[in-house]
């Protein structure tokens, strides 16, 4: 380790060990990248995302409270509504005269259960394909959720629910005269229906299953937005960072901590995910236009070129902005970009500048290229050196 890096770590430790952390000082330091060592990044992100307060003395009680709260969410939203396992001897309290699977009342618990399953299937589809180039999310976590995996439990896990739901939708077929055929359950083997992805043995959970649970709880607690594709790409880097913390006391609680940090982060960027806000002042369309109006200020020639070729910001900036660039770079680079984004004072304004920087850094190619070539450049961004990009973005910010 270089002495420069060592002194940088020391700087972080100094700031973080103060009884009352100065947010401005911390932001400034984090903006140029947070060291991974000693769990510094995890700690800084938790402070920057307003999960941990600046008074260190409050941490332990707050963490205890929040982690208990998360356990409570799991109980309320996964454990209680789950159907009792159909084991012999287990009475089915969930099927009563008042409420049963065929209850047409929209407020019925069963109705909610079936609606939740739709959301769950959508989440499931997406989290299974989270960072397919990396083994991490397919690997088992060291800290499977004991509350969920306890063999004494008599409820249905999310994994079982997905299997059951896909099984149901696969075996019932209706012929043209309206007769429903249920094919023999012996013929279909549900676990294999998802065979492209390995399912770990009982008692083990892959990291993607933890991410799935976080998203499901979020969807349940925020029914107005529920789950939108792309949220998986926002949880991914957060969870990865917390679940690889060098400090095992923190790592053990990666799930709950990620949930709250994700919720806080979403409170700032959720408008991007809401369709009805698309054309409002806070929606994604406005932000995409902002990227172009900023570009116009900084590089008129390039702006004119993109206009002339009718390359709209929707073609690339939609993804850049909604996913905070998480699909454009490799995970370690995404995380480095997020250090700066989270540390930015007027958070995510800097994101617009990063997008602008990405455009101006390939301006010569863009000015040369035709529509097709340029679309390829923008959809498969050619520069992987994120430091270069962040430096350029900072220059743009300073040149105001």
């Amino acid at each position: 380790m270089s002495s420069l890096h060592k002194s940088r770590i020391a700087e972080f430790q100094d700031i973080l060990s103060e009884p009352k952390i100065t947010p401005q000082k911390l932001r400034e330091l984090c903006f140029s990248g947070i060291p991974f060592e000693g769990g510094l990044r995890c700690l800084c992100w938790k402070i920057l995302l307003n999960y941990l307060p600046v008074e260190r003395a409050l941490w332990s009680s707050l963490l205890k409270k929040q982690r208990e709260l998360y356990a409570q969410f799991l109980k309320e939203m996964i454990i209680q509504p789950g159907i009792a396992k159909a084991n012999l001897g287990v009475s089915r309290e969930d099927v009563t005269l008042e409420d049963h699977p065929l209850n047409p009342n929209p407020d019925s618990r069963w109705n909610t259960y079936f609606k939740d399953n739709e959301v769950l299937l959508q989440i499931d589809k997406d989290v299974r394909r989270l960072y397919p180039d990396m083994a991490f999310f397919q690997r088992p976590t060291e800290y499977p959720c004991l509350l969920i995996l306890d063999p004494q439990n008599e409820f249905e896990t999310l994994r079982k629910r997905v299997e059951q739901t896909t099984l149901k939708s696969q075996t019932v077929a209706r012929n043209r005269s309206g007769v429903t055929n249920v094919s023999s359950p012996l013929k279909t083997s549900a676990p294999h229906s998802l065979s492209e992805y390995e399912v770990l043995p009982n008692g083990c959970e892959a990291h993607w299953e933890v991410v799935e649970r976080i998203l499901f709880i979020y969807a349940k607690l925020n029914p107005g937005i529920a789950y939108v594709q792309g949220m998986n790409e926002i949880v991914g880097p957060l969870y990865y960072t917390f679940a690889t913390d060098t400090n095992s006391d923190w790592k053990e609680h990666a799930e709950a901590d990620t949930f709250f940090c994700f919720t806080n982060l979403m409170s700032e960027i959720r408008d991007n995910f809401i369709k009805s806000l698309d054309d409002s002042q806070c929606g994604i369309t406005y932000k995409m236009e902002k990227v172009y109006s900023t570009l116009k200020e900084k590089d008129m020639e390039l702006y004119m070129k993109l206009q002339e070729q009718n390359i709209k910001p929707q073609f690339f900036a939609f993804r850049w902005l909604t996913l905070l660039l998480s699909q454009e770079f490799l995970l370690p680079d995404v995380i480095r970009i997020w250090d700066s984004l989270f540390a930015d004072d007027s958070r995510f304004d800097f994101l617009l500048l990063v997008c602008c920087a990405m455009l101006t850094l390939i301006r010569d190619q863009l000015l040369e290229g035709d529509f097709t070539l340029n679309m390829r450049l923008l959809q498969d961004y050619p520069i992987s050196d994120v430091h270069l990009i962040l430096k350029k973005a900072k220059d743009l910010q300073d040149s105001k």
Partner: protein
């Protein structure tokens, strides 16, 4: 101006529920490969493939859209100006088939009137998991007067055929232009986008 390497430019669009395999269908056609581990498409993606039909070099500009409802405001803006739309469902997913009529309505509302439509029932290699009979696909296609293929991006069934057929159908409707007419206006169907094929 650089020499143009094609005679015509067709803009195509892939739509359908999320997870039916739109990206895989496109990837099979553009790169002749299959990948089970595609991340979900957010917003819109884009590929190019040049094919030769009736002695003409045709550049296909194919747009791949996100399937989830949320993205519709973003994706419907591409409908206008599209000359061909492929509507994809998954033969192992009944819901994706039920939604066909919703997608067709979307086309009616947002696309050019004379757009060529095509229905694809994808994942036809998974016969043991099939819930949508081929006859049902054929029936709905017949009702709407559009072409229909069952495809498999994985087993490479009918993918190329589907794209080429769609391109041929568009070609048939395209007014014959002088071979040296430099700019091909792909928005000739009344579209607003009108990307001009400048130097390529």
């Amino acid at each position: 101006m650089a020499k143009k390497t094609y005679d015509l430019l067709f803009k195509l669009l892939l739509i359908g529920d999320s997870g039916v395999g739109k990206t895989c269908v496109l990837f099979r056609f553009s790169d002749d490969a299959f990948n089970t581990t595609f991340i979900s498409t957010i917003g819109i993606d884009f590929k190019i493939k040049t094919v030769e039909l009736q002695g003409k070099k045709i550049k296909l500009q194919i747009w791949d859209t996100a399937g989830q409802e949320r993205f519709h405001t973003i994706t419907t803006s591409y409908y206008r100006g599209a000359m061909g739309i492929m509507l994809v469902y998954d033969i192992t997913n009944a819901k994706s088939f039920e939604n066909i009529s919703k997608w067709l309505r979307n086309i009616d509302e947002h696309a050019n009137e004379d757009v060529e439509r095509m229905l694809l029932g994808n994942k036809c290699d998974m016969e043991d998991k099939r819930v949508v009979p081929k006859a049902k696909g054929e029936q709905i296609a017949r009702e709407h007067g559009i072409r229909f293929f069952e495809t498999s991006a994985k087993a490479n069934i009918n993918i190329e055929k589907a794209f080429l057929t769609l391109a041929e159908d568009i070609l048939r409707k395209t007014p014959v232009k002088e071979p040296n007419s430099e700019n091909v206006d792909i928005s000739s169907g009344g579209g607003v986008t009108g990307w001009k094929s400048k130097c390529c």
